[in-house]
Subunit: 344 residues, 2 copies
């Protein structure tokens, strides 16, 4: 028929798990393959969601695929993760979530009972976030061509306040983290490979629109927000430092980690600053707004442990430095590879 | 840790390929698992996309996962399919596509060169449809846990005219099909299992906003539109007949099928009315609007073979009857199983 598949390039580079890790390899794939092809102002803003106007409305739009393994874990399952994750990406744009879509990619042989549990969790998570799931799709692939269930959620939000984006981050800004770090990643790891840590660690998966909305309603000028998912706080700070052309200095002693998470990280040789969270975010505000920001966040359960963890600086654009517990200072780099595959 | 996976239900029903076929089993899964959990007005409209208002704008929102196998086929690849498919779901709501998202689910080991070809096709398809890809995501799963590449696209469109939906279909409406049927399904099958048909069949994948826009601009009151993807014309008509509470009588001799598609269907025992298309749609208009509808569609290349194929009736709600070439009459039922797995 005169039709052939495209020939692989001379150097047949292949996709590795590290391309999905949210670190340097993911960034390289985005910068070399996706961004040059799809270039446009909304995408180039390098934010969790795209912001644009349509029909007189200021909208935010975001999408994420969820491939977490196992499907069920302490504190949640792939369903509430998929809803909360997309709600949170909208919240990080300062957008009130108004509609979600859910596309299910099911492997032949999946128990329908498992699907029902996941769908019920999605319903509950959507209700908790005050958003409807208005569109969906279901595809099935042969046994062995998938892994139980993948879910892709997309979301539309309404932007009712000013711009919240990396380019608004300024030297002098306070860096605030909304709570303790690392619980989601450790909860997932605890289910894998027969690991059993001393003391239960449940995922922190939670919707984050309520605290963001409280900050906006309080009149705080949020410069930038980012949820601390794949790659953790370290990756979020690095991405924002590069996008904003600033540096950051972080105080490790100000960052909270639950004792069980800390113990698990030490056992596994993981740095909690790189471990994924699903209900935590970083906020950048002018120093003047710091007290009211902390006060507002600490009034809400999900962000009751909010803390100032560092400041934005001018020198060495793109560099994030952390002052460690023992007094030294190190550069907090992007991971080049994959720390925890399929964490979300 | 006191945590266990949910127990499978007493009768451990499992997902089968038929649940993804777009026929009766897909419908049952939607009706028993998804719709009861996610119920809301937009979802309950049972349309290709959800329509709702936000911030004063009338929006349409849709999502689809693409799992087509093979990734590359005559006439296109998974990339342009994913863009055109979502553009078309918006067009079927009468919505001008304004923004797309793309979530990539890659299998470890995929050639990055293949990804680049797919991404370039997506860029070209988006340009042809006048829409930007503004948000994206990349996840990677281990070799053997995926199948090369799955893509989920979601889309936002602006609804600038009146409602286009199944519930507006009325007895007396003309049923118009925009062109010849079955090319996409046969193009995919020609690549599988070493089949080689006499004469090339290329997929009909194409964006459909231009013909829909032309009809709206011409002032034609479109009652309902539906693109003829998974499950083909037969499934689209059945879904709409049920949703609208009407019946339909279709004249098989009015339906065009290319000779090579016809020959392939005969060889494989397939009914072209059930074969997937990716650039064809059915339109329902009042009888008075029929001449102008056909005239407008036939002026555009993608719909130059538009034809009246039947009428909407009042008796026997939900039943679609086809008058065959040899004069007999048969009920055109929903397929209960899966005719062509992973066709899109």
């Amino acid at each position: 028929m005169g039709f052939t598949c495209p020939a692989p390039s001379a150097a047949p580079a292949r996709i590795t798990l590290a391309h999905g890790g949210g670190g340097r390899m993911t960034q390289r794939l985005i910068d070399t393959v996706f961004r040059p092809a799809f270039t446009n102002a909304a995408l180039d803003a390098a934010h969790d969601g795209a912001a644009f106007s349509a029909g007189g409305a200021r909208l935010a739009f975001t999408t994420d695929s969820y491939v977490v393994r196992p499907l069920f874990f302490p504190g949640g399952n792939i369903g509430d993760l998929a809803v909360n994750g997309t709600v949170n990406d909208l919240a990080m744009c300062g957008a009130r979530p108004v509609a979600l879509s859910a596309a299910f990619l099911l492997e032949e042989g999946l128990h329908i009972g498992e699907l029902e549990v996941v769908v019920a969790s999605m319903r509950n998570a959507a209700r908790a976030a005050g958003v409807s799931i208005v569109a969906g799709d279901t595809k099935v692939v042969e046994h062995g061509k998938g892994d139980g269930m993948f879910i892709t959620t997309s979301g539309i939000g309404l932007v009712e306040y000013g711009e919240i984006a990396p380019r608004r981050v300024r030297p002098g800004d306070a860096v605030i983290v909304s709570g303790d770090l690392g619980a989601h990643g450790i909860a997932i790891l605890s289910m894998r490979d027969g690991l059993d840590f001393d003391g239960a660690v449940a995922s922190d998966t939670a919707p984050l629109w309520a605290p963001v909305s409280a900050l906006l309603t309080a009149g705080i000028d949020l410069h930038c927000l980012r949820d601390l998912t794949r790659g953790g706080l370290a990756s979020a700070l690095n991405e924002i430092a590069v996008a904003a052309g600033v540096s950051m200095v972080i105080d490790e002693t100000a960052i909270e980690t639950a004792p069980a998470v800390c113990a698990a990280c030490e056992l596994l040789g993981l740095d909690p600053l790189y471990v994924a969270n699903e209900g935590r975010f970083v906020a950048f505000v002018a120093a003047d707004d710091l007290p009211r920001t902390l006060e507002t966040l600490r009034r809400m359960r999900v962000s009751r442990h909010a803390a100032l963890v560092g400041h934005v600086k001018k020198a060495d654009p793109g560099v994030v430095t952390v002052r460690s517990r023992i007094g030294g200072s190190r550069v907090l780099d992007l991971l080049s590879g994959e720390q925890l595959p399929r964490i979300c």
